[in-house]
């Protein structure tokens, strides 16, 4: 893939830091996001990655898909590992043991590794103010272990542990608002993004890279396998998530909200929901309920953004 405009964001747009030959599912938007995002970070980058899809598709010993220094330690501790890396290279530069230069430390985890099991480590790392970027690639369930619900699974979605049934509508809780939690840590940069909008995404990665202190980017990563959609529809559903207002694209720079792409007038959420197998059991009543929630959340986001 050669995108001329990539050159605005990266010195070597053709160089792949996430190489081909990995074992990601067809149509995986997560590996697409990382492939693009890592081009912006460039070669002076160290990646810490949580256990999850991106880890298991990329590094069966003795092979690797990463052309960057990369480490995987465990599931819940990626932000803590990144804290150690940032502290380690910092002190080694201070002591003159390694040459001083800007090295980006990037922590990457899925929605389970971020909003559930890794939340404490992430909160600690953001509070301590480490100079690093945390990317949550959110495919809205534990896809690696076979589509179990996380706190980032949207209301109504069917997963293997939130199955619809006589006494269940599927996921009965609202998606945890991770970006808002990140914002509450008063860090310099927070953003949402989706690889269906690559240049919006890349611009945000660039800001995160340049931020002094913690940056958090929450990337909606469409998962054809887990969402039960055709594998050639990942980009399409990412766009629909944004255009319906279900997943708005915005950034929060030093506390100031800015919507980076306005989808108004919002498309009805049914356009997003209808084609996805994970929502196929939803009644019109429930879809209306989701629509009302999206309307409220969108107004809420707009009111924050207008405060600037």
């Amino acid at each position: 893939m050669r995108m001329k405009s990539l050159e605005r964001y990266t010195d070597s747009p053709d160089f792949e830091y996430a190489t081909s030959g990995h074992r990601a599912c067809q149509g995986c938007a997560e590996i697409l996001a990382l492939r693009l995002g890592l081009k912006v970070f460039g070669k002076d980058t160290i990646v810490a990655m949580a256990t999850g899809c991106m880890e298991i598709i990329s590094t069966p010993l003795p092979t690797t898909s990463w052309r960057l220094p990369w480490i995987h330690v465990a599931f819940e501790n990626t932000a803590a590992v990144a804290s150690g890396i940032e502290s380690g290279i910092g002190i080694l530069m201070d002591k003159g043991k390694i040459a001083r230069k800007d090295i980006s430390v990037v922590a990457i985890a899925g929605d389970g590794g971020t909003s559930d099991i890794g939340l404490q480590a992430l909160s600690g790392a953001m509070e301590r103010g480490h100079n690093f970027t945390y990317i949550c690639v959110d495919n809205e369930a534990y896809m690696n272990t076979g589509i179990q619900r996380s706190s980032s699974t949207p209301f109504g979605a069917m997963t293997t542990t939130s199955p619809p049934g006589k006494k269940s509508i599927g996921q009965a809780t609202q998606k945890k608002n991770m970006p808002k939690i990140a914002v509450a840590h008063n860090i310099p940069y927070v953003a949402t993004a989706c690889p269906s909008y690559p240049f919006d995404f890349l611009a945000k990665i660039k800001k995160a890279k340049l931020a002094k202190g913690p940056a958090y980017i929450h990337v909606l990563s469409v998962c054809p396998t887990g969402w039960r959609i055709p594998s050639d529809q990942a980009i399409h559903y990412g766009r629909l998530a944004v255009r319906t207002g279900i997943f708005p694209l915005y950034e929060v720079e030093n506390g100031k909200y800015r919507i980076t792409y306005s989808p108004e007038p919002l498309r009805p959420v049914s356009e997003y929901i209808k084609g996805q197998g994970r929502f196929r059991h939803l009644t019109d009543d429930l879809i209306t309920r989701i629509q009302e929630q999206v309307n409220r959340d969108w107004q809420d986001l707009k009111s924050h953004s207008e405060m600037k």
């Binding site: 070669k43 002076d44 980058t45 160290i46 810490a48 880890e55 298991i56 590094t59 069966p60 010993l61 003795p62 092979t63 690797t64 990463w66 052309r67 960057l68 220094p69 990369w70 480490i71 995987h72 330690v73 465990a74 819940e76 501790n77 932000a79 803590a80 590992v81 990144a82 804290s83 150690g84 890396i85 940032e86 502290s87 380690g88 290279i89 910092g90 002190i91 080694l92 201070d94 002591k95 043991k97 390694i98 090295i103 404490q120 480590a121 909160s123 600690g124 509070e127 301590r128």
Partner: protein, 393 residues
Amino acid sequence: MSTKKGIEVSIAAAEAAKLARVEVIAAYPITPQTHIVEHLSEIVANGELDAAYVNVESEHSAMSACVGASATGARTFTSTSAQGMELMHEILFIASAMRFPIVMAAVNRALSSPLSIWGDHSDIMAARDTGWIMLFCENGQEVVDSIILAFKIAEDRRVLLPVMVNLDGFSLSHVIEPIEFPAQEDVDRFLPPYEALYTLHPDKPITMGAYGMPELYTEAKYAQEMALRNSKAVVKEVLDEFSTEFGRKYSIVETYNIEKADTVFMALGSINENIKTAIDNLKEEGKELGLVAPRLFRPFPAAELYDVLKDKKKIVVLERAMPAGATNGPLFNEIASLAVTHGLNAQLENFILGLGGRDVEPEELMETYEQVSSSTKVSHSDNKNYGVIGVRS
């Protein structure tokens, strides 16, 4: 010039980490480890040590940050106790398997519940099979010396494994002892800066922590196990080198009064000082009791223990951790295994004692000696394999 002073052992442990010029410290406070990390914070805050102190939000993150820091090539130190060690348990395995030479002062404490902040070995015995090299200390001087030499062992290219320096909570960590501190320049000569074999750095991108498919996992674990087993020779070498440099001689198995004694006690940690007092008291009564104290617990010094135990008639293993349904306590099980594999022809006895900070007086130990001396079967019976000293049942 070395200096000798009366100092709290925890403070001395922090000073030892400073002498080792640690570069990253990631720690979370837990009693009775707190004085170590408090003093290290102070040392870093005062600019006396060029190090990054990461105030992590849990012990799980402490060990995780240590792994990240060590992966960059920084000399890395932490300390914990009890619940904290259990919380970082998962990452202890990963630190050793990924071959990071982290050093941890483990201030041994009882595990909850009931909640107890006081000392015993239930924490370290629950973590004994995490692949770390494990040293046990009897007194403050050993703590200081062990922290310094632990880095030398850990960072040896033939080893590259993390090392835990165990010291008993309160009964050792909080006592004031006269301790000799080696001079910085001598420590620098003994322990040069850490040069990591592989690091996370953009100049040479490598992948760390790949996963193992069934066709490779066994080989990976075998390689790690061999490294741990082979580290024993390096531990011995480093102890000898330490003795040449600083004059204090340590061995991986310490003994006391074993020449004439047919009966020996075996235990880990500071309780050995009480056992020595009991031995001295018994000697005045014309009775001979010996002590065999492994300073190195992992890798287990089986051959060295066999050498000192092979002629003994009665071997009494004292441990500060409940067997939790096992046949016997963990140290006894090692000795029982040794008896079978190497052939010890001795009466083996096992006692649990000193749990949750319960004091163990030399008199109780002398009484245990008398019981064992006058019987061929004390702690074993049809329905139990060990005795619990001082328990009100």
